[in-house]
Symmetry: C2
Subunit: 299 residues, 2 copies
């Protein structure tokens, strides 16, 4: 009939029926702690771009750093029969049964950034140790010898790894690690409250390596306000490369976190595993090489 033909002209198969039949949804579930965060939104962007190219879709769920919500989200995504899960666990997650169960029931998972060693699967992380080593080495190579490290709590993995990278760089150059040059200080507010302490150390240091950009920028501002010139007197390096690093004056030398690449890589790994189903072995942890972006806060 004419009408039937007319319908066929812009006929669009129902993806729902298709999925129900084929047991494949071409949809990946994403569980992410916070969307409003430059790093995480970069990750989503990378995921979406690659997924789009491969004919997949992304279902985004925000755990808001809440364990319970993470569990509910996982369940909802499984109910929707997503082909796989992309997960960065919330800070409050100590129990991983919801994710272990998902894997046991046949839904592959790729962890990114916030990984768990309790679940054996593919993982993607950034090499914090190496990033910190590069940052510190760069300070040394541009003339610094006495480098203050503003660190995250050492019981956190990123705090520990970045601290150790800092130490390694110093040792590589036969510089002694001095305890008084390592300060637990990882927020802008921290810098302001420790201002006096930092300024007391300032005359004898020639470099600062901060565990993140906002801390680095706050330190720069405190130092500048008290007559120290950046980078002439003191070089400063951050970690993270949000857009802040290009806004500060001087612009901040920092370690890029490559969220976009991490997102792409996570999806690549997941799709790859979906293409080879049934294979339970060969899980890999991919470590993304950090990259130092040299700007004007170092010589």
């Amino acid at each position: 009939m004419v009408k039937t033909f007319a319908q066929k002209v812009n006929y669009r198969p129902n993806a729902l029926a298709l999925s129900l039949r084929s047991q494949k949804t071409k949809t990946l579930g994403l569980i992410i702690p916070e969307i409003v965060h430059h790093f995480f939104s970069s990750v989503i962007s990378g995921m979406e771009d690659l997924a789009y190219g491969e004919g997949y879709h992304i279902m985004v769920c925000q755990s808001a750093e809440n364990f319970h919500r993470e569990v509910i989200n996982t369940q909802a995504l499984l109910d929707l029969r997503v082909d796989g899960l992309l997960v960065s666990v919330s800070k409050t997650t100590k129990n991983f049964d919801h994710l272990k169960n998902a894997m046991q029931d046949g839904t592959p998972i790729v962890f990114f950034d916030r990984v768990s060693d309790q679940v054996e699967t593919d993982k993607i992380v950034i090499d914090d140790f190496e990033g910190a080593r590069m940052a510190t080495t760069h300070l040394i190579e541009t003339g610094a010898q006495k480098i203050l490290h503003l660190s995250a709590p050492l019981h956190l993995l990123i705090g520990k790894n970045r601290y150790e990278g800092y130490c390694m760089a110093l040792r590589d150059h036969n510089i002694e690690v001095e305890e008084k040059l390592v300060l637990k200080c990882d927020t802008r507010e921290n810098v302001l409250s420790l201002q006096k302490h930092i300024l007391a150390l300032a005359p004898e240091i020639d470099g600062v390596f901060a565990v993140n950009d906002s801390t680095a920028i706050a330190a720069m501002q405190v130092l500048q306000a008290n007559g120290f010139q950046i980078p002439k007197d003191i070089g400063v390096v951050g970690f993270g490369d949000g857009p802040n690093a290009t806004i500060s004056s001087p612009t901040l030398t920092t370690v890029e976190q490559k969220g976009y690449e991490m997102g792409r890589e996570a999806v690549r790994l997941l799709i790859q595993r979906l293409a080879n189903p049934g294979v339970k072995i060969g899980y890999q942890t991919k470590v993304i090489a950090p990259f130092l972006i040299k700007r004007n806060s170092t010589k």
Copy 2:
């Protein structure tokens, strides 16, 4: 049977089958120009939070400011039978047939931020005019009389509306609008290339209202580097309130864009319409009231 019972214990209905049967997916499709942008990621966050509470899910598609990709995304989301669409159109979109067709075929759409007057449906926008008026009025009320406006191109809606808000505030206070005090300058790079021009004007101005935060911050830096004190000599107000505004020194007084609220509101409107199907009338355009955040770049 025992086995049947055991299955029931952690039985989870297949949402796919359910959707196919009920013709409802409890899923909303989101088409957004860029994910990596503080405003847009705030919007997504707000959408996700409300959707989560209402039992809906969000399928995120990034158009990357690309018309073709926007069309493909729309089609894909319709294929997946999303219950409704949340759309902020790409900068390159001039033809709206893909969205008109979606509406005609019964999929409701809510536009947010980047709306089109070619498609009649619910819309949510921020009151740029009012925001600019508030920003300028605040400068006047803190003592400014000669206010430089760094504007976006006036052929863009946000450029036009913010410029007109600026003018209105001046007129409200019987201050003449001077052409030479309106500069087309809406990026950090712009500020740097127009540096001389801005500095030539600087001695006679006592306020700056910039069309966005990064422009405001760049202007502050240029002024400070040349001996002008902020806010003592010149008060500065931005627009947008990304996190940059709290990083700059001094912290920046700016108009909040309320992305999170906009996201929530868009989902609320869409779900509301889904709850009352068939009603083709009563489309509303909701204007979100802007909010001035006073920080240290104004007195």
